[in-house]
């Protein structure tokens, strides 16, 4: 939901942004001796002048506390001669410090510690440890909402803010022509031990905003669950209470409702490897307005109790440089108790963002959104349930993990004032398109360019992503039906090995002192093969795949080893019929396992692993190569919206404008600007000023 803040707050924020910018520039031009490449700083006799630890998420209190602890440990290096062994040991200690909270079921956690030296002059140098840790949810990181969050709250995407058992307070405030000067904030308490139980409760949230013309108060209990296996990758639920009063040009629009919703996202599915999102919601309460009944359409009432059920589904995907989300929602509403359906509302929302790099940590970002709605009134509908447009987004469902826009957003008209149709206030259909382009002119990267531009660093990042993908691929390969058939023979293998072992033992007893080395070699190969078979029997997924493979030619070839030692070498000399029979039985089982194992569709497993890890890879790349701690730059935009029933003169509007976007990931996100309304009715304003400010956690 778009928020607006006061000019005073904006000036304060701008000032702090400029201050940070100035500091950054000063740091960049500080006189320093350059450190020559290819130098052994120990042999060259350098002394460590200072030691510094950098972490992009140092503004988080708990990260800062760990860095402070670590600083105390590394400070002993300062003033001492540069010794490689000491520098490396400190890096290992920093890696072990773990700058990430434990976060439930994330499959992959990445930790980078980069050691560098700078300011080499006067026989001294400064030692810098850069630490970047990240735990990325493979499916959730591919959503449109996660992409948006990266820009303003990268620590959330990196999994660095998942600390529980503490209160977060985030003030908000602003100004908008309809809503006037308003203020408020958001409080959230994340519970310790969240994420367990049949209905896990993660957080309690309270949000409030108020002005002389509006108020909005919401309270929510929310929970979620991530799963590492199965079709559903993530599910969340929310119990939400909302009491709001929003101004339009003629009346207040009031809502007082309680809702319960459940939504989920699957793992990537189908040929295009797209995750599906789906959910449902039940809500009930009262919708009110100050409209006179005579001013409204005959099927519309100014106020009424109501109940509604919503179903919604969609998909989202993240490509290398863009992200796409498509959502559809249907609302079945009633103003009376019972099964009568008074209205059916359809909403379709398509969002696309693309980032076009134009320099280091500088990209042109183009956001597009196409939204349409249709209200089919079969009985009577409260006017508040009709579509009201303007410079304010109305979400179809609560929460931040999935946003579905449900009203015509046009930034050149104040909130809720785009509503007049041939049938009176409130539309029954709309289509709206919004385009925004932004580029940062001044920025400070999260990961220093010295690191992100280091070729070896880039290569090692790719290497580790490859390794992680290989691990995930083994899990997918272990689901292949042919692998299950191969693994299903493990019990037979163990039984055959036991019989062969007994036959060999009997043969040895019958031939005391003969062929001792051959008997010993055979028994040892049987023991080793059985150890792998035991491990395969008690393990699952990728681990089981590795142990089964160890029996086969693709890996340690343990069963061939048994055949070679016991039948090929030993029984060729002793000609024991029992050893021959049990050896043949084992060979047959082995052959069937080899055949099934060779039929595992590794290509499919590879594709699935690539698809799952692609989101992690793209998110990691964005954190390292795209995102900024601080950025400021211009924004331009174009809006189009049509509401009905109305002809183009009454129901079509445009918006053209621009502004400024300032992001300080440690404190504030601010956008301000003005959109002109070139095709307006006589009483409509010529445009709308907008300013939105969101502050981060005050207690950080």
């Amino acid at each position: 939901m778009t928020r607006f803040a006061s000019a005073k707050l904006a000036l304060l924020t701008l000032f702090s942004g400029i201050s940070l910018c100035t500091y950054s520039e000063e740091a960049a031009v500080r006189p320093s001796g350059n450190c020559p490449l290819g130098t052994d700083f120990e042999i060259a006799g350098y002394t460590i002048r200072t030691v510094r630890i950098e972490n992009p998420f140092e503004f988080l209190r708990w990260v800062r506390a760990r860095i402070d602890d670590a600083k105390r440990d590394v400070s002993s290096l300062a003033g001492r001669p540069y010794r490689t062994v000491d520098v490396q040991r400190t890096a290992r200690e920093l890696e072990g410090a773990n700058f990430l909270p434990e976060a439930g079921d994330q499959r992959v956690r990445v930790s980078l510690v980069v050691t560098s030296v700078e300011n080499c002059s006067g026989g001294k140098l400064d030692l810098v440890y850069s630490v970047l840790s990240s735990q990325i949810a493979p499916v959730l990181s591919g959503t449109f909402e996660s992409w948006k969050a990266e820009r303003t709250v990268p620590e959330r995407v990196a999994g660095a803010d998942q600390v529980t058992g503490r209160l977060r307070i985030s003030p908000a405030g602003g100004y908008e022509r309809s809503e006037r000067l308003f203020g408020g904030g958001r409080m959230e308490y994340r519970l310790s031990g969240a994420g367990s139980g049949p209905a896990p409760l993660d957080s309690l949230e309270l949000e409030g905003l108020g002005s002389t013309s509006m108020h909005e108060l919401s309270a929510a209990l929310a929970g979620s669950r991530d799963t590492a296996a199965g079709l559903i990758a993530h599910a969340d639920w929310q119990l939400n209470y909302l009491n709001s009063s929003q101004p339009s040009d003629q009346s207040q629009l009031r809502k007082n409702r309680l809702s319960a919703q459940l939504s989920a996202i699957t793992r990537p599915l189908g040929r295009w490897r797209l995750p599906m999102r789906l959910g449902g919601l039940l809500e009930g309460g009262r919708l009110e307005s100050d409209f006179r009944e005579a001013a409204l359409s005959r099927d519309t009432v100014p106020k009424s109790d109501y109940g509604a059920a919503k179903l919604f589904l969609g998909t989202t995907t993240r490509l290398d440089r863009s992200v796409l989300a498509a959502s559809y929602g249907i609302e079945l509403g009633s103003t009376t108790a019972g099964a009568r359906m008074d209205w059916i509302k359809h909403v379709a929302d398509l969002a696309h963002d693309i980032v076009l790099p134009v320099g280091d940590h500088r990209s042109l970002e183009i956001e597009s959104r196409l939204t349409a709605g249709l209200l089919d009134v079969r009985g009577s509908v409260p006017v508040t349930a009709r579509f009201f447009g303007g410079n304010r987004e109305e979400p179809f469902i609560a929460g931040e993990t999935w946003t579905i826009r449900s009203n015509p957003v046009i930034r050149s008209i104040p909130a809720n004032r785009f509503n007049l149709t041939a049938a009176g206030p409130g539309a029954t259909r709309f289509v709206a398109y919004n385009m925004t382009a932004a580029i940062p002119l001044w920025r400070r990267p999260i990961v220093p360019p010295e690191l992100s531009q280091d070729i070896e660093f880039e290569k090692q990042l790719e290497t580790q992503i490859t390794t992680a993908t290989s691990f995930v691929q083994t899990d997918y390969a272990a689901r292949d039906p042919h692998f299950k058939l191969a693994a299903g023979r493990i019990g037979d293998v163990r039984a055959a090995l036991a019989k062969l072992n007994a036959a060999v033992g009997a043969a040895a007893s019958a031939r005391p002192g003969q062929f001792t080395e051959l008997f010993t070699a055979c028994a040892k190969t049987i023991e080793r093969a059985d150890r792998r078979a035991q491990a395969a029997a008690r393990s699952k997924e990728g681990e089981q795949l590795g142990n089964v493979a160890a029996l086969l030619a693709v890996d340690e070839d343990r069963l061939n080893g048994v055949d070679s030692a016991c039948v090929g070498d030993l029984n060729a000399r002793i000609g024991d019929p029992a050893v021959a029979a049990h050896g043949a039985s084992l060979r047959q089982i082995h052959a069937e396992m080899e055949r099934e194992f060779s039929l595992i569709d590794q290509s499919s497993a590879s594709r699935q692993a690539e698809a799952e890890m692609a989101y992690v890879k793209r998110t990691l790349h964005a954190l390292v190569y795209d995102l900024n701690v601080f950025s400021i730059g211009p924004v331009v935009g174009f809006d189009f919206a049509h509401i009905g029933p109305a002809d183009s003169r009454l129901g079509t509007r445009y918006g053209i404008g621009g502004g400024l976007r300032v992001t300080l990931v440690n404190s504030t996100d601010l956008t301000l600007g003005y959109f002109a309304n070139p095709k307006r009715l006589s009483k409509e304003p010529s445009g709308a000023f907008f300013l939105s400010v969101r502050f981060k956690d005050l207690l950080e």
């Binding site: 450190c35 930790s111 050691t115 030296v117 070896e456 580790q464 691929q473 795949l545 890996d555």
Partner: protein, 138 residues
């Protein structure tokens, strides 16, 4: 190990050149099993001393009985020194990452033999051989 430059600190402070020089990178991936009871850590460490580059792979295995338990200390921790001059396979692994077969071997036999050293079922040398064999898989 061949040493790099032997010039003195002051003599090697030219006006041009890199402002900050990276002398070491540690990248660590933690991979958690689907049931949340096992964690495998593959750490890769590069250290630069003059013109010399040294690679080291850390292998750690963690297990726990319940998801609500902390992992605690690693059940097994093995360090593999990679000699880039003598072992091209190790170098390939260090530079290209583990293949799926290598990953399966590490998760299965390597981890199992490493655990076996704790119970005495497997000699430590045999376990190290099994871990080293990870590098030989295609």
């Amino acid at each position: 190990m061949a040493k790099g430059s032997n010039t003195t600190a002051d003599a090697l402070a030219p006006a041009g050149g890199a402002k900050r020089v990276v002398v070491g990178i540690k990248v660590k991936f933690e991979l958690n099993s689907k049931n949340g009871l096992r964690r495998v850590v593959f750490g890769l460490e590069k250290n630069t001393q003059g013109d010399d580059v040294q690679w080291k792979i850390d292998f750690e295995l963690y297990e726990r009985d319940k998801k609500t338990d902390p992992y605690g200390d690693p059940l097994v921790k093995l360090d593999v020194e990679v000699d880039t001059k003598l072992n091209s396979k190790a170098e390939d692994t260090a530079h290209n990452g583990l293949t799926p077969r290598q990953a399966a071997h590490a998760l299965g036999p390597a981890a199992d033999d490493a655990k076996g050293t704790i119970t005495g079922e497997v000699d430590e040398d045999d376990a190290k051989d099994t871990v080293q064999a990870t590098l030989k898989k295609k």
